[in-house]
């Protein structure tokens, strides 16, 4: 069965597609599993600091308070960016390029607003004495929200690329994986924020 000998090829043979799932999509899903586990580790730290440590307290304590309402509005802003992103994705599937452009631009702006509000929140909290250096509750507050904020930042960079490419007309109804796959990441970042917001601010 000495079948394959060296031939001069112009390229590799096309791989057999043994699963219906798109490789890039599967790769993104696996990456998200990995990301969920990073958050899982940070939530483990949160659990230890809030529950396991003897005499542990959580906000509000000693006059330190988290701006639950402001962060709630910010949550709404971030979640609405998922809706505009979805609208952009549906638009390009239907061949509506204007919808794609406007949708991507809105998504990016909403995401940037979220990050801007969060940075302001950090500045305010720092003035009130809630810092990561002050106590472990501050450490894990900044740890979890900062980890999420870093994901928002990376997500924004990706959205920026998608938006630029949308304005350059790189996508079409038949060819929009470049919107779909980053979109999954952005939706993940949004869903993760709901978990972070609920555990850190509300519970």
């Amino acid at each position: 069965m000495e079948a394959a000998t060296v031939h001069h090829h112009h390229g590799p043979p096309e791989a057999n597609r043994s699963s219906r799932i798109h490789p890039a999509l599967l790769g993104m899903l696996l990456f998200i599993i990995s990301e969920v586990m990073v958050f899982g580790a940070f939530f483990t730290a949160y659990f230890f600091i809030r529950v396991v440590v003897p005499g542990a307290e959580w906000f509000p304590f000693d006059g330190f308070e988290l701006p639950v309402a402001v962060a709630g509005v910010n949550t709404a802003i971030l979640l609405s960016s998922s809706l505009t992103l979805h609208w952009a994705q549906v638009s390009i599937k239907n061949g509506n390029h204007t919808g794609l452009k406007v949708g991507m631009l809105l998504t990016f702006l909403l995401g940037a607003t979220f990050l801007f509000v969060q940075i302001n929140e950090y500045a305010t909290l720092t003035r009130e004495g809630i810092t990561p250096q002050a106590f472990a509750q501050g450490t894990i507050f900044y740890g979890l929200t900062g980890l999420h904020g870093a994901h928002v930042f990376i997500g924004l960079l990706i959205l920026l690329v998608v938006t630029i490419r949308a304005f350059r007309g790189h996508y079409s109804p038949d060819h929009h994986d470049g919107v779909e796959v980053p979109g999954i990441y952005w939706h993940f970042v949004d869903v993760m924020w709901i978990v972070v917001y609920t555990t850190v601010y509300i519970l």
Binding site: H9, P12, R17, L26, T44, A45, I49, V53, A136
Partner: protein
Amino acid sequence: MIAHLRAPGWYRAAFYIALALGLSWLLLWSANGFSASDVSGIGWVQVSLISAPLFFLGGLGAFDYWIYWASGRPTRPEDHSAHGATSWKDYLRINTDHKVIGIQYVVTSFFFMFIGGLMAMLMRAELAAPGRQFVDPSAYNGLFSVHASILIFLFIIPVFAGLANYVIPLMIGAPDMAFPRLNAVSFWLLPAAGTIMMLSFFAPGGSFASGWTAYAPLSTTAPDGQVFFTIGVQFAGASSIATALNFLVTIITMRAPGMSFFRMPLLVWANFSTSLLVVIATPFVAASQFFVLLDRALGFNFFDAAQGGDVLMYQHVFWFYSHPAVYIMMLPGFGIISEVLAVKSRKPVFGYRMMAFSLLAIVILGFTVWAHHMFVSGMQSWIRVPMMVTTAIIAVPTGIKIFSWLATMWRGVLKLDTPMLFALGFLTMFVLGGISGVMLSMLPFVIHVSDTYFIVAHIHYVLFGGSLFTIYAGVYYWFPKMTGRMYNEKLGKLHFWTTFFFFNVTFAPMHLIGVQGMPRRVADYSEQFANWNMAISIASFFLGLSTLIFLYNMVASWRGGKRATGNPWNALTLEWQVSSPPPVFNFDRIPTVVGGPYEYGVPGAVHGVFEGVETTAEERQPAGAVASTAKE
């Protein structure tokens, strides 16, 4: 010169590293209110350690395609010039060919094995007699820490990834990995991670010395060498997550027609399971080192009990990765052994499906045993007994594998060449390591031997006698495929017997002195252990020398060994059905799989058929379905 600096390659990489150092300094300078005197040296080192490897990869050209693509500029035409290797220089650049990357991985990780091994020699020289010989206690701490970190993160984990990188696309009938460029990035992160860990020896206060476990608060208060571990592990971890993701997508979406999951060779199953572990568990070690880095660099309080932090949390997060990690370091080896034993016994693997299911069982159970590393840590005592029980249970799927291998060999026609010898050596040594593992799961016993040489003996029986023997088996087994040359069988056997003998003389006595109470991780010991330690040290030097036989055999055979045929072992799996070394794109046409991978001794059994090759209708029947004239 400018052209050199613009084109991807080593010149640009060096330039970019310099750029990273400069930009890191500017970043800190601006963060410190534009005051040069406020920029701390260690701060600069920390930022540089994070930025320089990324800039290095950028300089080599790992990100070029993506940057061109993302900015909408025309990407380089896909002329596949990045595929294949015609000279050794092709191994020193970004290459997207999984076969080249596989060899890059294996050679690089063996380089780190020799470094890690030399550190072990130095430790044994120190331990040859009580008192101080060559190194002072803190240097000794640094030696065993770097020894373990390098051999775990830069040898065992990546060398398996390298072998799998080479073999898996061939085995499943794919032209390459699913994400070839990501594959190249995964590889090039490794030399960066290794260099970072080695550089720690130049840090003031010496290299990191808190063991490969880097427990807080030891690691949060250690001298600055510690950050070289904290950051180096991040790159090694990122590399292994990216590779695992790549393997999973490749295995799921790129199998040849007819290659159902239960027709996959067990090496593919093993790496599938390992990759699941890596994707799920490795983020935890990344997080644990983030915590340490934030505590060290920015004064966070994750582990500061005075501020409400929790020290034990480190161990929980760390072992939630690092226990699965011991399976990450073993499951691919199980796969190699299944291949070698079936081929060298000329028999189908016994209980193929149970072999696959037991791998998945290990994946799941592997996540339920982490706290058995913490029995003496002072954690909540109610966790102990459940962890003891799950730890004992996880020996069951491993036992299934051991007995299946024995049954595979039962009444087989054994060919006792080098890969087979190492496979048999693995079986015996791993059973011993497994038995001491079950002993260590038992609370009353482990409390007695915690932090003694019994632990050192156990870990080396499973990682050296276990993992490393499977690695040797795999390297010898696939050497003809990778290089197109045969290795020297006589030297191979000599290598096996010397390694096997001196391995046992080195590590078996450690059980004894461990039970007697000799503590590990200490440069000195009491007089009563002197004789055993002298014997161990002498044996360990011979063990080190035996590795040189391997090195010579590999180098000499690669340069001038006998030419290998496509299928020197008469194996059925697809990688042996192409030339040695395989064509640049693996297959002219993707083969069709018509039967199981291990139907040795079954008349008329065929695993894969190639279009364009004469096959009869009978041969396309599933293996074993019809008896026809044997094809081989």
